[in-house]
Symmetry: C2
Subunit: 902 residues, 2 copies
């Protein structure tokens, strides 16, 4: 981490400083771009000072001094102390006070401030400069002995704790004792004599427990405090924090020494915090609160209720006006909402700190658009000013952040948004109750295709087992319904129609809440905020569209998904999973008969029954996406996913057998069990699925392709412009693709010729196996497009089964730092990304201009989208609800990519 | 495919030929290295002719002529026919006969001959040159009218079928009819008049069915036959064959025209075939058979029994001596055993063909060693002369190739070798019966750890389910016991103690045979050949050791494996699977209690019980491998593999519940079921296993490492030289390795310090996940060795679960040509190999000189070994029984690699 050129040139000119190197910068000499040298806080006050704002004067000791301190065996570097003394003299001149002067003592605060805000380091020592003598001077000067003594007490306590390592509890005990003895209700009620006794007691504690005596000399106090700040850079908490956040250890911390100002010097004094705009709504008005005759600590202590900032206009109109002007200047200067701290000392306003203000999702969008519209920032800056995840928040119903919630359990955040309703434990009942107008939440151990109608009827879904790619999670995300999956501490008693979690029981019909964005299972009903895609968001996203390089498509299986995707701004369907259509309740029995068929002939008979369903589905989705590409993936999952579970069948059959039920009475179950067993696989994810299935049972693929092209032909005849793109899944060897393609081409050609129409279509493949990525150049000779299936590619590259891994070790891997991220949420650029890069290179080499997309869940993850931008993909495809997120993320990725390339 | 330089220079000199290009080569002008131009057969007779052997004279029309024929729209190229005519004239001069001369007709054979021997093309037309006139001349000349007429009849039949596309069945019908009419018992019994009628009938058939009239002009016959040979190059069977075998279509075929000689011209004529050495034993003596007064066809027809070649010495001593001399010359010339065809025409010996003789495994070894010892070939040539798979045959008991076997079913060839014994259906009974001295074969649907004692007792194992990496297959291979796995057509009825296959039933106690090298399940007992590692094989392998670059190590889990490996010449243990030790019957209950333990404390208690077992195991294997490396892999499989099967438990519990058994009576089963469910994974291969397990339960790894180093320390104190190398499995991210290594190092250091000894050891990793290969440079910074786990790497790179894939689609993929090979048998160089190459490069870059090995099953596959040689690995490791194969393959790989590099 090196300082900027500007700083460097200043350094070169520093021979005039004692020690030959400049270690100390007055606030008025620094600026905002000197964060590396002066730390964030030092650069901030320097910038305010330079802007002419009323900042209590002071100076910053550089991060370089900190590093030199360590390099020199924990001694101040040559010349540093002399430079501090010089700066202190200047401070005395500016304030007209004297450091250690009993008549008019200069008091200072000492604060650490590294380049990055960092908890765990020494924070602040206030009132430094007080001692037995100066405290009396302060009393006299302010005419407030109680104030002076209390300031001294606070200083001793902070200094002892932070610099001398005395346990704070002893001071608290002493103060409680004194309050008890004198009958004082609060700290503020302690009379001067009580405070004098307390100070004496504090000094005893410091003598007994401190690792050094309490220094009466203010210069000694200052040197010790500076040393303590330096030392805190390497305390355990700070080192751990840096390790965890990958912050280098050689940045060092700066130390800020600043003249104290006091908000507790009467009714013309005060302290407060304020935002330049409402951080909740984005409304353009000062927002904040203040307390007169108080210090910052008092606001925190909550003894008195702070007043809304607007009231200040009545109480101290001049100060208010000055503050409002400053706020406006700061916002214009930093070109962002500011979160400011101020103190008023006897009618004079001092700005203590300003920084970018945190804001809600809604506020972020409103503010960014307003600032760009008013010309304060560019549209590009507005696009960069909103976090993509904030857009996501706006698109789902969410729990009011102000609400108190009673969390019973936490599962996986499987599908975002919050929902409440009455617990029901089976799909049929969910459907019936929803039909009767009830809001219900479906609770299952895990779901399977038989539950889908219940999921449709329910507000949300809770399962006790399964990961973020479990049936419940995938289906719920597709529906845009909240889902908490794999909540292992939820014990579901299906027979008893109740579940237990966190020691409490929810019976069928009792209301509860789930939050699919956090994984929380919450007792009772909590207040919600409804989703909204307001005008400002539309505006912001239209700007994003004008910037981004990547096109954003959506994954969707039904016409309703396509409509939603279009509404959210998708420019194509990147993944239409044909098998989800198989899972619908009215089709599943046919699908099961098809699977159980013992000959190709029988199978074809059942497939013929499925054909009209599939054709209608494709008709709907191709019609909705008129003129836009629809990538239709041929059947992918292993066939046993369409059958009942092995465990249930085994139990049923064993029970019937043990009870002596006549065999013919459960023959259908026995037969189904045999079929499930025959299709059973050790590792179904790596078994007979994808194009393997299509090559073993070409008749299934033939039916699907027939449905696609009959639908397309029908639309074409009606004057529409269907754009089907047939995607062959799970290709690992080019020959698999070649043979699959020839099945598709043969059927498609036949149908189009028969219909006498021409339809533009493509045939391409998923790249979702390492081998496909490695041999992409071969495959691209045959395939017209690639779509990266990064869910499966991540599974095979890491050798993780997502369903198994997340619960069993992956989340621990992430929390323990073995992996930096969950690779199923954020693309692993080092491993999976390397394969993608190979595939992109291979694909382009064999077929320049090949269409390249991504349809794994990473297609909706901003960091992954940034990587796709770098790879130069054509599009990202994600769930409809993530489309706005992806549009924004894609624009940001482009802006940052272009930036990097400069 | 271009011709050699020598051929090129001859071409340049060919302006003298009609058409300006030489299309025709006399036998005496060609040589063995002109295969591309003259085809294999043409080059062979040319070489014999050139060597001065008595070959019937003739000439070859080149493969170039064939290509020119196609280029010219299926017309002979300019000058070709003229050159044929010239060559024919020379042939007339040499033989003193005239083509079409009724007095002394020259007859020729016309044969195709491509560069590679290729079924599906036109084969041979004999006796060409006969017609109504010359047949009479032949009759007169030979004084054998029957012979002449029969020759004509044969010629018409062959010519009509091959050149004129007349269905052969009609001729067969006609000949049957004639035999019936005249009461002839065989073709040879047909009298001249019958033959005349037959010839007339043949001509009628040709007129009616032929696509052209039968030509009486011998020159027309010849031109038509040459054209037919050319055309047959592109018939469907030939094209399919070339496609399947990846032979280019532009090689073309040559045509050989050769003067006929007749072995059926009396008792001083004859025909025969012979080898220069016994192809079964390798013994150095002429081996073969002959028939006097016969043609080759007669030998095939089996009307008379041929005589052993030795008898010829008595019947025709001069001819025999001449033949023996020629045989010796040919063997010396070709420096290999020759398989020769000869004909004797009226006391004159003619050599028709010679080629390398096929031989048994045993003969191959004996011959190679003898030839090298006698100086005929070099040791390197001897090493190249034996197929590695032939060595494998020698190391397993095998079914006598001469035996007739009755195959009931075919499963997977899961562990090589043949075995017979009485069928038993459970492990306990297998153990009991074996203890009583019976030979038994264990038959199970599939095996699990509870069956291991039965497998130890049995001669071999048959399972109906599971692939080549199923429990049965892996354990059997480890034991070197024959195993047929996944024989899906074998229906096992455990309750009825019988199995059914191919319509037959084998009951418990009935004998049957399995062949683990072919997957055959055979009724009854069949004769076997015992394995042998004879002196010649030892010699050959010692030569191989002197040549090879790769070191050969063995995979082995027990001291007995180590001893076997050493006996077979292994120089280290490349994979010691610690968990197999967990599977032993006396340890499994402790392992299960350890898995079920609910706290780390409980788990440690059970682990403490396992410690002495593991220590004893390691003591044994390290002691056996004194001074050689032993790579010990830490625990790898998912824990549920050590528990009973979910299906069985579910059935047991459901049955008990349905029968109303008191709950406490099966509480242990319920508890076990709960545990199995808790540990259950959707895709266990990609779940909690390998180093993930060790990171979640470090106490297991700590126990294993303690056992390893306590064993090593004990041996060291006894003056031995233990060389443990600890291998961390399933690493995907360097951080997994780093943390695992630190657990290992901490325990190892502690134990060695306590024991006060130093032990040389290494810590390295498997590269068995794509991500590990992709990030190998990172991992190599931490790991001292890589061992490619190509089984898992193949699974993840292809996305195949081997167990599921082989039965469900993979074998069909291979048989249908979608994949060129089963990638679990022969390394997929294009995909998996690319990852290996990346890993080798990354590993060497980060740690030059890093030890690189392979311990997947490919380590014993010759083609995969050749790839490892190219990659420059340090060693290959395979099962002990494959070590000799690997030694030979490694030497061959080096010889070919060096050759290629020249």
């Amino acid at each position: 981490m090196s300082v900027s050129t500007q700083e460097g040139s200043l350094q070169t000119a520093s021979k005039e400083y004692p020690g030959g190197h400049r270690w100390v910068w007055r606030f008025e000499d620094g600026s905002a771009d000197m964060r590396a040298l002066l730390g964030g806080k030092g650069a901030g006050v320097a910038e305010m000072t330079r802007a002419g704002l009323p900042v209590p004067p002071g100076f910053t000791i550089t991060t370089e001094a900190c590093n030199a301190f360590y390099a020199g065996g924990e001694h101040f570097p040559d010349g540093m102390w002399e430079q501090v003394r010089t700066a202190l003299s200047e401070l005395e001149q500016k304030t007209g006070k004297g450091f250690g002067n009993p008549k008019n003592p200069l008091l200072v605060s000492v604060r650490s401030g590294a380049k990055f805000s960092m908890p765990g380091m020494m924070d602040t020592v206030l009132n430094l400069g007080l001692n037995e003598l100066t405290v009396e001077g302060l009393a006299e000067l302010t005419g407030d002995r109680r104030f002076a003594l209390d300031s001294y007490r606070r200083f001793i306590q902070l200094f002892a704790k932070i610099v001398l390592f005395v346990d704070g509890a002893e001071f608290e005990d002493a103060i409680e004792q004194e309050k008890h003895n004198t009958g004082a209700a609060s700290d503020a009620d302690l009379a001067p004599d009580a405070l004098e006794r307390l100070i004496a007691r504090y000094m005893e504690i410091v003598s007994a427990k401190g690792n050094a005596p309490f220094p009466q000399d203010p210069l000694e106090q200052l040197a010790a405090a500076i040393g303590a700040v330096f030392s805190s850079w390497n305390n355990k908490r700070a080192v751990d924090y840096r390790n965890y956040n990958h912050i280098p250890h050689d940045l060092g911390t700066a130390v800020n020494v600043q003249a104290m100002v006091f908000g507790n010097m009467g009714s013309d004094s005060g302290t407060g915090v304020a935002f330049t705009r409402d951080p909740a709504t984005g409304e353009k008005k000062l927002f904040g609160e203040y307390l007169l005759n108080a210090q910052g600590e008092d606001v925190v202590a909550g003894i008195r209720t702070p007043q809304p900032i607007a009231l200040l206009e009545k109480e101290l109109p001049e100060v208010y006006q000055q503050f409002a002007d400053i706020a406006a200047r700061l916002e214009a200067h930093y070109r962002d909402v500011q979160d400011m701290e101020f103190t008023i000392e006897r009618g004079k306003l001092y700005m203590l700190q300003t920084r970018s203000g945190k804001r809600t999702a809604q506020a972020a969008v409103v503010i960014a658009v307003d600032m760009a519209n008013s010309g304060l920032i560019t549209k590009e800056e507005a696009v960069l000013a909103v976090e993509p995840e904030q857009v996501d928040q706006l698109l789902h119903r969410r729990i009011d952040p102000a609400a108190k919630v009673d969390i019973m359990a936490t599962g996986l955040a499987a599908s975002p948004g919050a929902a409440y309703g009455k617990a029901v434990f089976d799909a049929d009942r969910a459907e019936a109750q929803a039909a009767a107008g009830e809001k219900v939440i479906l609770v299952r151990v895990e779901t399977n295709p038989d539950d889908v109608h219940g999921m449709i009827a329910a507000q949300g879904v809770l399962t006790a087992r399964g990961g973020r790619t479990s049936h419940a999670a995938v289906v719920a995300r597709g529906m845009g319904k909240p889902c908490v999956a794999g909540a292992e501490s939820v014990h579901v008693d299906l027979e008893g129609r109740r579940f237990e979690a966190g020691g409490r029981v929810i019976r069928e019909g009792e209301e509860f809440t789930i939050d699919g964005s956090t994984g929380h299972v919450i007792a009772g009903q909590v207040p919600m905020i409804e989703p909204e895609m307001g005008a400002e968001l539309e505006t912001l996203l239209s700007w994003a569209d004008g910037i981004k390089g990547l096109s954003v498509w959506a994954n969707g299986d039904y016409p309703r998904d396509a409509e939603l995707a279009l509404r959210f701004g998708a420019r194509g369907i990147g993944l239409c999973r044909t098998e989800h259509m198989f899972m619908e309740q009215d089709r599943l029995p046919v699908v099961q008969r098809m699977i159980l068929a013992e000959s190709e002939g029988e199978r074809r008979k059942e497939l013929a029954q499925l054909l009209p369903f599939q054709r209608a589905d494709f008709l709907g989705i191709l019609s909705a996406m008129d003129g836009l590409p629809v990538v239709i993936r041929l059947i992918d999952p292993p066939l046993h996913e369409f059958l009942p579970s092995l465990e249930e069948l085994l139990t049923e059959v064993a029970t019937a057998r043990a009870k002596g039920v006549p065999e013919q009475d459960y023959a259908d179950r026995t037969e189904m069990l045999a079929a499930v067993r025959r299709l059973h696989e050790q590792n179904p994810m790596l078994g007979l699925r994808g194009c393997r299935l299509g090559l073993m049972f070409p008749e299934i693929v033939e039916m699907q392709v027939q449905a696609i092209f009959e639908a397309a032909a029908e639309l074409k005849k009606k004057g529409k412009d269907p754009r089907p793109e047939v995607m062959i899944p799970l290709v690992g060897h080019v020959e698999e693709f070649r043979r699959s393609r020839s099945i598709v081409e043969k059927v498609a050609t036949g149908i189009l010729e028969k219909a006498g129409v021409e339809v533009e279509y493509k045939i391409g493949t998923m790249i979702e196996l390492p081998r496909a990525a490695l041999t992409a150049a071969e495959i691209a000779k045959e395939a017209e497009f690639f779509s990266f299936g990064t869910n499966d590619l991540t599974q095979t590259t890491f050798g993780y089964s997502r369903d198994d891994a997340e619960g069993k070790f992956l989340l621990r891997y992430v929390s323990e730092g073995i992996l930096p991220d969950n690779p199923f949420e954020t693309l692993d650029q080092e491993g999976v990304g390397q394969l993608m890069r190979l595939a992109v290179e291979g694909g382009r080499q064999a077929r320049p201009g090949i269409t390249l997309g991504i349809c794994g869940e990473h297609g909706g993850d901003p960091r992954s989208i940034a990587f796709c931008e770098q790879l130069g993909l054509t599009y990202v495809s994600c769930s409809p609800y993530r489309v706005p997120v992806a549009r924004l993320a894609a624009a940001q990725a482009r802006l940052k990519h272009v930036e990097r390339d400069r």
